[in-house]
């Protein structure tokens, strides 16, 4: 029995890493998209911003698909309860992800309706970024569950203040991620506007992150004894302080890493509040779905571990290779 617990903990960690990878990578392209109306002055600037994410967003989204698959494989009850329970919210996530994906392609090939496809691109990206945080907030904060592990709330259960703080904090972090990516990938006026966006967003993130950490410790007093929570705060503080210095020096590469660092801190704090629950039952702690009562069998977890521990380093290897192919400043005519 103890053996399977090791694998349940391993899989909890791996799924967190997959979702974190998704947050950092798709985070910057959702963020760039959300900022399009603010940063992209003319069509050429917008083309440049989209060109900076065009070759990589597809691969970034696979982190979500793989995280979802891993959740299904390791903790099927969590996957089943959350996805069916949050049905309408999940449909909105899908709507947002569909539009943000196709809009780039349609915008490039359908000049008559550029404006429309920009709106769906921006709206889809921002909505997706917001909803992911709200969903995570709900499973951590807790939702009503029945004794068959089924969700017993409604759509409006999902919109309580605590999960919404998660959503807004995540959205702010995603947009900062996008702005700092834009700083790294652009030049001239566009870069100057991106620097300004990073400055404003760093300020916003100081506020949202502070509210988020205070809310966490107030909601989950047990966190005061959790080392990971303090490590998380250090990560986020270090990232945001680093951003202030990088902005002064007009360093165009460091902000992206500092923003990522700050985002990792937010994520670690969430995981500290979460573990070992995966979906907290707000009505009765005994009904919570934990990593221990919602997982698949030992053999499945072992097979999956072999696939992931061999496969993911290879994935990360060729992902770095492809990012290096596209390193340097993006050009408007990189876009087809």
């Amino acid at each position: 029995m103890e053996n399977i617990q090791h694998f349940q903990i391993l899989w909890c960690g791996l799924i967190y890493i997959l979702f974190l990878g998704y947050a950092l990578l798709d985070g910057f392209d959702l963020g760039v998209a959300t900022l399009l109306p603010f940063l992209g002055g003319n069509k050429k600037d917008k083309d440049t911003l989209i060109a900076s994410i065009g070759p990589v967003w597809d691969g970034n989204e696979v982190w979500l698909i793989t995280a979802g698959g891993a959740l299904f494989a390791a903790f099927p009850h969590v996957y089943a309860t959350a996805f069916s329970g949050f049905y309408l919210a999940m449909m909105l996530v899908l709507l947002a992800l569909i539009f943000r994906a196709v809009s780039m392609e349609f915008r490039a090939n359908d000049p008559a309706r550029t404006g429309f496809w920009e709106k769906t691109f921006v709206g889809g990206s921002a909505l997706a970024a917001l909803l992911f945080g709200v969903a995570l907030g709900n499973v951590i904060y807790g939702v009503p569950l029945d004794d068959r592990m089924e969700f017993a709330g409604s759509f409006f259960t999902l919109l309580r203040p605590v999960p919404l703080v998660f959503g807004v904090t995540g959205l702010a972090a995603v947009i900062l991620q996008g702005a700092s990516w834009a700083v790294m990938k652009t030049e001239g006026d566009l870069q100057a506007r991106s620097f300004k966006a990073v400055r404003i967003l760093t300020g916003i993130n100081v506020v949202t992150a502070t509210i988020y950490f205070v809310m966490l410790i107030a909601t989950f007093p047990r966190l005061s004894g959790n080392v990971l929570f303090y490590v998380a705060i250090v990560f986020t503080c270090a990232g945001l302080i680093g951003l202030f210095f990088s902005l002064r020096k007009k360093n165009d590469a460091a902000p992206f890493w500092e923003s990522s660092f700050s985002f990792i801190g937010l994520f670690l704090a969430a995981s500290a509040a979460h573990f070992p629950n995966l979906i907290t039952a707000s009505n009765d702690p005994n009904l919570s779905l934990t990593i221990y009562n919602s997982s698949t069998g030992l053999y499945t977890l072992q097979v999956m571990a072999v696939i992931a521990l061999i496969g993911m380093p290879i994935v990360i290897g060729y992902t770095i290779f492809v990012y290096r192919l596209f390193k340097g400043k993006a050009k408007a005519d990189d876009h087809y």
């Binding site: 070759p55 696979v62 494989a73 009850h77 996805f83 709507l95 090939n109 069998g297 990189d334």
Partner: protein
């Protein structure tokens, strides 16, 4: 309408729409790999123009495939949560493996294919083409594994608590129908693209557009069009034998075959009257028995050997199957005709054949959609053949009202995607490959 029926309609609609795109992706990746390999070997610019043209089309096809594919991954949790709870041990790892082993590869390198021409060397570009081809086909492999496990489950045991537990991953992956269904599906995709390439190139040649580029494109298309439906005939036959052996009820429904007999007839066209348990139509005496193992008197199990509760909707399965087979035969004939015209050097002036080609483009889609209807409706009433009924698989907390909302949403959004796809597909074809 009840929630179960709505969930089934939504799944059928969203998966049917999604499959149009991966069916084009795999074949397009093959054509790109062929033309880019020729480009690397022969160093002729015409192949580069062909690659670039299809990479542009791939960009459009792939993005809609990816966007509608994520809906499918979510749908097991959103709409089929009881299924997900029951099969997490087996179905989950297969989907996760698809992500780690296949879809990452395809998605990461598709960016290079579409955006990387000016940034990378010819060799790196070729590697990207190879990786997209491999990633796409591996992705198809894992998805077919998942679906085949639902058709012919293996590698599991039922635990004391009544749960489905994985006991051999390799048996689950290589279950009795995986390999033959993978080949059948991949070949269907290659046929789809062979016809698409031939259709586009045929239009160019007939209109006198794009000179050498169009003629080379036509040659690639027609050669594939001649070969792939023929190879498919072999794979299809092997698949049919597998269905007769492992899913006899489905096989009997496909053929409208009620009574277990030796020397069973095969229907070329017909109609199944399920209520009166009779099939009407044009049949070839003893044809079915002959095709089963090349013995006119082999025994074929009929539907009457099985309880009526376990029959799928008979006429739908019968008609879908026969439409698919009929189209397959047409593809074989027209592909061979194209090869003959190419061999005799008459194809570039055979106006009627060139005129016909573009109109064929939708037909392979009809064939693979009806093929999937045969496979999936033919499995009913089971979601996992012999193990779990579809009626027990849907989400218990999702109401009919929520399903009406989501079904309306997908209908509107997919209609928009479909219209945009057709408009942009035609537009890219009209713009054509770069001038020489």
């Amino acid at each position: 309408m009840d929630a179960l029926l709505l969930a089934r309609i939504q799944f059928a609609f969203t998966i049917g729409f999604h499959f149009l795109f991966p069916a084009m992706t795999l074949g397009t990746a093959l054509v790109i790999l062929i033309s880019e390999t020729l480009h690397l070997i022969k160093k002729e610019d015409v192949y580069r123009r062909i690659t670039d043209f299809f990479a542009r089309l791939l960009g459009l096809i792939f993005v809609i495939g990816a966007a509608t594919g994520i809906v499918m991954e979510f749908s097991f949790g959103t709409n089929w949560s009881e299924y997900s709870r029951a099969v997490g041990d087996i179905f989950g790892p297969i989907l996760a493996a698809e992500g780690v082993i296949a879809f990452f590869l395809e998605s990461v390198f598709v960016g290079v294919l579409i955006f990387g021409r000016k940034r990378v060397s010819a060799k790196v570009y070729w590697v990207a083409a190879l990786m997209v081809f491999l990633g796409g086909h591996l992705s198809a492999f894992w998805i077919i594994v998942a679906n085949s496990w639902m058709q012919t489950p293996a590698g599991y045991e039922i635990s004391a608590a009544g749960k489905i537990v994985l006991n051999s991953f390799s048996d689950a992956v290589f279950n009795p129908s995986t390999i033959v269904r993978f080949l059948h599906t991949v070949l269907a995709s290659w046929v789809t693209c062979a016809v698409m390439v031939s259709g586009i190139a045929g239009y160019y040649v007939r209109k006198g557009l794009h000179d050498q580029t169009a003629r080379t494109m036509l040659k690639i298309g027609v050669v594939l069009f001649a070969i792939t439906p023929l190879v498919q005939l072999g794979a299809a036959h092997a698949h049919a034998i597998q269905v007769i052996n492992t899913q006899p009820v489905k096989a009997a429904a496909m053929e409208g075959h009620f009574h277990t007999t030796r020397g069973a007839d095969i229907y070329v066209l017909g109609y199944v009257d399920a209520a009166n348990e009779k099939t009407y139509g044009i049949s070839i005496p003893k044809g079915l028995s002959f095709l089963y193992n090349f013995d006119f008197n082999s025994e074929i199990k009929g539907l009457n050997d099985y309880p009526k509760d376990n029959w799928p909707p008979l006429n739908l399965v019968f008609q879908s199957y026969h439409i698919m087979v009929g189209l397959g035969m047409i593809f074989i004939a027209l592909g061979l005709l194209g090869a003959l015209l190419l061999w005799t050097g008459k194809i570039y002036t055979a106006k009627w054949y060139l005129f016909l080609l573009p109109f064929l483009i939708p037909l392979p889609h009809v064939a693979h959609e009806t093929g999937w209807i045969t496979a999936e409706v033919g499995r009913q009433p089971w979601i996992i053949y012999g193990l779990m009924k579809t009626a027990a698989a849907s989400s218990v907390v999702v109401s009919a009202g929520e399903l009406i909302f989501s079904l309306a949403m997908f209908t509107l959004v997919y209609l928009l995607l479909f219209v945009m796809f057709i408009l942009l597909f035609v537009k890219i074809i009209k713009q054509g490959p770069a001038a020489s």
